[in-house]
Amino acid sequence: MTPSRAAFAAILGKDLRAELRTLQSLPAMAIFAVTTFVIFRFGLDRTQLSGDLASGVLWATLLFAAVLGINRLFVTEREEGGFDAIRLAPIDRSVLFAAKATALVIYLLALELIAVPIFALFFLDSVAALGPLVAVLVLADLGLAATGTLISSMAVNSRARDLLVPLVLLPLVVPLMIAATGATEPLLAAGGPGYERFGTWLMVLGLYDLIFVLLGYAVFDFLLED
């Protein structure tokens, strides 16, 4: 067997190299996010946002932008034979889950690196909340990557590929969104960042991450069989 570390590095490296070369997912996600902010500006008819409204706009936008990337996560494997190549190799198949979820976390962090400052520029009075927000973003990204990788790997082998990811993923991430918006809301409050129940929500996020990372790791083997 090839050591899992080497196989992980090979798959992740291949994915990042291809994304950097073709820029298939990231720019689309970022443009989508910024356009959605503009739509919220007019839909809500607000030029300033704070508290629950700010938190809701931010997370709804990030989630829908993430769906774009999640949809594309396995398309090359499906269309260019990567699934077969990986199944022919003497590697532990869970490595594919780990590598793809890691790639997705990197895409999501890159998206947030662009979208969150623009969100602050558009709608926020102060940037004081952005520091602690990083913890919420990272924890939410982990959970989104675990469930997203799981659903995407199944959807790509179906005949309703682009439909299945939003359909199944959205209800599945409701608890994640509850916790993420719950933690973000006091951070973006009008009178400066608050930390009401911040730790509790981070723990919920962590628990969600833990459960779905373990679950994805455990069941991924069954998804590659034929």
Partner: protein, 232 residues
């Protein structure tokens, strides 16, 4: 870490290949209600070549994918290189060179990057991997186009790269589905050197073109639609 089961660099030469290489008895595979393969049986000695003939839809590709551990059989006993499928599929992986309809190459990476990716999946890294990649690229006369992205290559050149990918890890068993597709006369000659009868491996060749491959065959398997397979 799990100990390395084999070193791909020296496998074909030093590892003792169990004889016979392939034993099939009553192999069956259903897709829904339809049987794609029904009652295939044969025995192939190590180093021999099996040519599989049959019309479209006779299950030739299905047979190849089952041997490659990519598809589970619905019934029957299968032993490949001493591993019972599908239970011991994990032992077999890495010893197979599979050349299917799809080249299994990423379009947006160069040929060399693709081969490096496959080498790493098979546990080949560093200078040894680079040397082996140079060697197979040269043998397929693809060394000058090795840094072009696959999407820029012609169908014949992709097939040559796919052959390089297939033999990169020196597999003991070659599973070849129409290996000559898209190749010109020169390409066929080069392919012969890498995956031809002189290759140090057991071979299973699926083809529509009996004239071309029958001379190389030690055994021939004819698959029909809706009838039992006949071994000639």
């Amino acid at each position: 870490m799990i100990p390395t089961l084999h070193n791909p660099l020296q496998m074909a030469s030093t590892q003792e290949i169990p004889s016979p290489a392939i034993v099939l008895a009553g192999l069956r595979r259903d897709f829904g209600d339809r049987a794609a393969l029904d009652g295939v049986g044969l025995e192939l000695a190590a180093g021999e070549t099996l040519v599989v003939l049959g019309p479209n839809g006779a299950g030739k590709t299905t047979l190849l994918r089952i041997l490659a551990t990519l598809l589970r059989p619905s019934g029957g006993a299968i032993s490949v290189l001493g591993c019972a499928l599908p239970r011991e599929a994990w032992k077999l992986r890495g010893q197979i060179g599979y050349l299917g309809h799809e080249p299994l190459l990423y379009r947006d990476l160069s040929g060399r990057e693709n081969l490096r990716f496959h080498a790493r999946l098979h546990g080949l890294e560093g200078a040894a991997a680079e040397a082996r990649i140079d060697e197979v690229l040269a043998a397929a006369q693809m060394d000058r186009r090795g840094d072009d992205r696959v999407v820029e290559l012609s169908a014949g050149m992709r097939q040559r790269l796919a052959i390089c990918r297939c033999v990169l890890h020196r597999p003991a068993l070659l599973l070849l589905d129409e290996p000559d597709s898209n190749l010109d006369a020169e390409g066929r000659e080069l392919a012969r050197g890498l995956i031809g009868p002189d290759a140090e491996a057991t071979r299973v060749v699926v083809t529509h073109d009996p004239d071309r491959f029958l001379p190389e065959a030690d055994q021939v398997l004819r698959l029909g639609i809706g009838e039992r397979a006949a071994v000639a």
